[in-house]
Symmetry: C2
């Protein structure tokens, strides 16, 4: 079967019949959400356990089950490997893991894929696990990649049934109220796991800081929690940032950021009540900074800035350039402190922020957003999952959610990475369709989606270097070296879901390179 | 059928097969909760409507449907009457209303019961509507009374399916985020309606203060809201208090409060981390004040105080006698201000606080609670719904939830009201079973449930006047005038649910008095 973008999609994933992507807002779900387990903990029952082993025993975790995790500790996570190691030691196999995202720190999972402890993965794979899976023949079923909102939707819709949710919690009380912004090693919001906690058959909060009742804010609630495991370490908050948080110092990238900011200024959206997504990549950060300076200069106050929270937008909040931050994850320690201390820095779960199957997302209120790409193509389609070598190396994050919601979605990219072209005829993988991408900004000028003639006119009126994507691609072509083209096998190693649960693309096994 | 307390219970309520009460924690639910509607609002859709009429049209509200409301404005509510008047004007009839509670201000609903606009009521009835229903022959099915937690449970379990939820919101944004602690006329938490918003087929937020996006805290979320109606008035916050908030000045009642406080001191529970429920009745307030003084004297810091929030416990929070307030409703404006300004005054929805069908309630963490009664009997059963004249005049509130959770549940009552006895052989209606009542404190001494020999010994050791309920009853008997005994008809006019969804008692029609 081919979807509306001409991408070949299989009919089924195990028992699940797949639906084809038909457009960013083509799906109108009806019927009912999945039901949640009806369970009680009665007066006087104790939930506190002293080890992961005990939690595995108590929850009845066994072969073939699905277990879930959040990624709020990012590269500092210590929980996923530990739980899987423990499962392996206890002889449990054939697990489907359902993390929000994996990072290079999770490379040890490769061994557990090889030995059959893990046979399926639904979740983002940033780095080595994705590269390993790309080789093909590793998993029983294709991996499934989802956006932040798409993952929440999938649980609520019953597409993924979680047997046991493991939730790393920097602070928890003995009854299972927990959050990520307090405690000995705060990692920022853990509300990614709220939907897991509500829908899983069993919910296990794992904490290194058991505090007296009640622990609040209630990101995870007692009413959803079966057990609380106390361990010595769940993660290293110094590794949250993953090195993404430096404003770029590259002159090329600064030029892109400047142009992106100028585009926002010229767009007409930058007025009181302007709502924007900051982003955490080097170019996005710089662009956000420039926009903030324009706002301060013009006396414009934003309605809200959407996180991932960073020191940059926290400073804007404190300076009064931003009225509110809505935040689902923290990218640095300043954002965590602000979530804790500033009532206008508001915790928001991914359901609120991005769930397609809801009566409206916060992303739909965005005026402008800066997002990245590994590749873009002449139809404005964006790839953030694979590189031009075909390897699956990144998750979707909020890319689809933000791009589809924001009135002006700006993709900021250099035309070259090393000597590889970033603008291509056809992206290796479509993560986000061109229909929701408005502007692509490069160091050689900016290209406007033909749907947005209004923006093109405004940019031209402001004297910005508006060009076609073809022109930019061609000009950059003089400096590129043809990329090492992957040879794909037949095996689909991953499905890329659009945020409504349809399949927008697949990733195929890489058998070699031309 | 008779339940374990010997109370006669009908087998069915319309299509719903009734379950008999078997004990406070006898029920172990399994299976699944009810499913929620799968609905989307897509990018760019507008939710704002300009009138209740328009909301009724848009939601398709029609004959036979169930509509719900919260009671956070209490006696100041302006929404319920207005919605029902509008329905009546539009020719809609046969409605089942599902308010959290009705107050005397809702007396105009009687006309709508008489003319068939309202044919069923599930919800607390404080005052005239209850008295009217007590006459019999007014409703198609018996009314159903539930506790705060019991109502939440009933929605989640699918016992009550809501067609349209109307949620009065002192502040809302155009996307349907709303709360009760901000805005022009704040009424305190409106999270009673959160479960309605999540489960109703259609959710309508009605506000008199439409503020720029985003409005937070998110008591009601955009993702649950179909429409936002802007009107000029939803309620009068000056009427929230309903006159319940004065510390008693009656010497008899002060004596009861003093003795209740002394019992807490003697109980052994009053140490660091002590958790208590304050209450808002005159005796409870005084008892709370006395306990607070003991805590301050002894340097004891409470873990949490549970609201209804009052200035009294807010003062304790600010003085450092209480670490946290967990609050589901506000009884005065000081509590609302504190909810807004103090991060340790924490909003809590009734699901968190009291839902039996959850993995644990906040009430289960209580050490002590002061509660009232209209009658108690020699088995320690408590009635808060009817008076000895048989009329249904009060709701359950959190009585069942708190009594069943607290380690030491203290009922504070005078032995006489006017010349009517409060301690009786058998309560007219059982709201809360004796098995969860520990101590009954009167101006003639205190009685301890025989199950709690430990407490009786401690009280005796502290020199408190421990007596049997029989003794107290007999002594008071010398001053009473036999109550005007109601003559009950066969018709069951109301069912009293225990918090687990079983039926603990019924209320019958009053056909006259002996």
């Amino acid at each position: 079967m081919k979807n509306v973008l001409g991408r070949e999609i299989p009919e089924r994933l195990a028992e699940r019949k797949l639906r084809l992507f038909e457009g960013a807002f083509a799906t109108t779900p009806s019927g009912r959400k999945a039901d949640r387990p009806q369970k009680v903990v009665k007066l006087g029952e104790n939930k506190v356990l002293s080890s992961i082993e005990q939690a595995i025993e108590k929850t009845g975790l066994s072969d073939g089950m699905t277990i879930s995790f959040h990624h709020s500790f990012r590269q500092g996570d210590r929980l996923v490997n530990r739980v899987i190691d423990t499962c392996a030691r206890m002889g449990i196999k054939d697990l489907r893991i359902f993390p929000t995202a994996l990072f290079p720190v999770h490379e040890p999972l490769i061994r557990h894929i090889e030995n059959g402890v893990i046979t399926r993965i639904e979740g983002s794979m940033n780095g080595p696990v994705g590269a390993f899976v790309s080789q093909g023949g590793k998993l029983k079923d294709p991996a499934v990649l989802r956006s932040h909102g798409g993952r929440w939707r999938a649980v609520e819709a019953g597409d993924v049934k979680i047997d046991v949710a493991f939730i790393g919690a920097p602070q928890a009380d003995p009854y299972g109220n927990a959050n990520g912004i307090n405690g000995k090693t705060p990692c920022g919001p853990i509300s990614f796991s709220a939907v897991d906690a509500m829908y899983a058959e069993r919910t296990v909060v794992v904490t290194n800081d058991l505090a007296p009742y009640p622990v609040y804010p209630f990101e995870i609630q007692q009413g959803w929690t079966d057990y609380v495991v106390v361990v010595d370490e769940i993660g290293d908050p110094d590794s949250i940032a993953s090195g993404t948080l430096k404003i770029t110092r590259s002159p090329t990238r600064l030029r892109i950021a400047r142009l992106a900011a100028d585009a926002v200024v010229a767009s007409g959206y930058l007025k009181d009540g302007f709502n924007f997504q900051g982003g955490a990549g080097g170019i996005s950060l710089a662009a956000t900074k420039f926009v903030g300076e324009e706002m301060a200069k013009g006396g414009v106050v934003a309605g809200f800035a959407m996180g991932g929270g960073t020191k940059l937008i926290v400073d804007m909040l404190h300076q009064g350039t931003v009225r509110t931050i809505l935040d689902g994850q923290a990218f640095d320690l300043a954002a965590i402190a602000s979530l804790r201390d500033d009532p206008n820095h508001v915790l928001m779960d991914p359901g609120h922020y991005a769930n397609y199957d809801s009566r409206g997302c916060s992303t739909y209120m965005l005026d402008a957003a800066f997002l990245g790409a590994t590749e873009v193509d002449l139809d404005f389609n964006v790839n953030v999952n694979t590189h031009s070598d075909g390897l699956l190396l990144h998750g979707i994050g909020g890319h689809q959610d933000v791009a589809s919601g924001s009135k002006m979605t700006v993709i900021t990219i250099p035309t070259l990475r090393g000597r590889l072209p970033v603008i291509v005829d056809r992206v290796t993988t479509v993560t986000t369709p061109g229909e929701v991408v408005d502007v692509i900004v490069t160091e050689r000028g900016l290209a406007v989606n033909p749907k947005r003639k209004d923006l093109a006119e405004r940019f031209q009126g402001a004297g910005l270097p508006v060009r076609t994507l073809e022109e930019i691609k061609q000009e950059a072509g003089g400096f590129t070296q043809p990329p090492r083209k992957p040879i794909f096998g037949d095996e689909v190693i991953a499905l890329v879901e659009w945020r409504d649960g349809t399949i927008i693309d697949t990733v195929r096994r890489v058998v070699g390179w031309e």
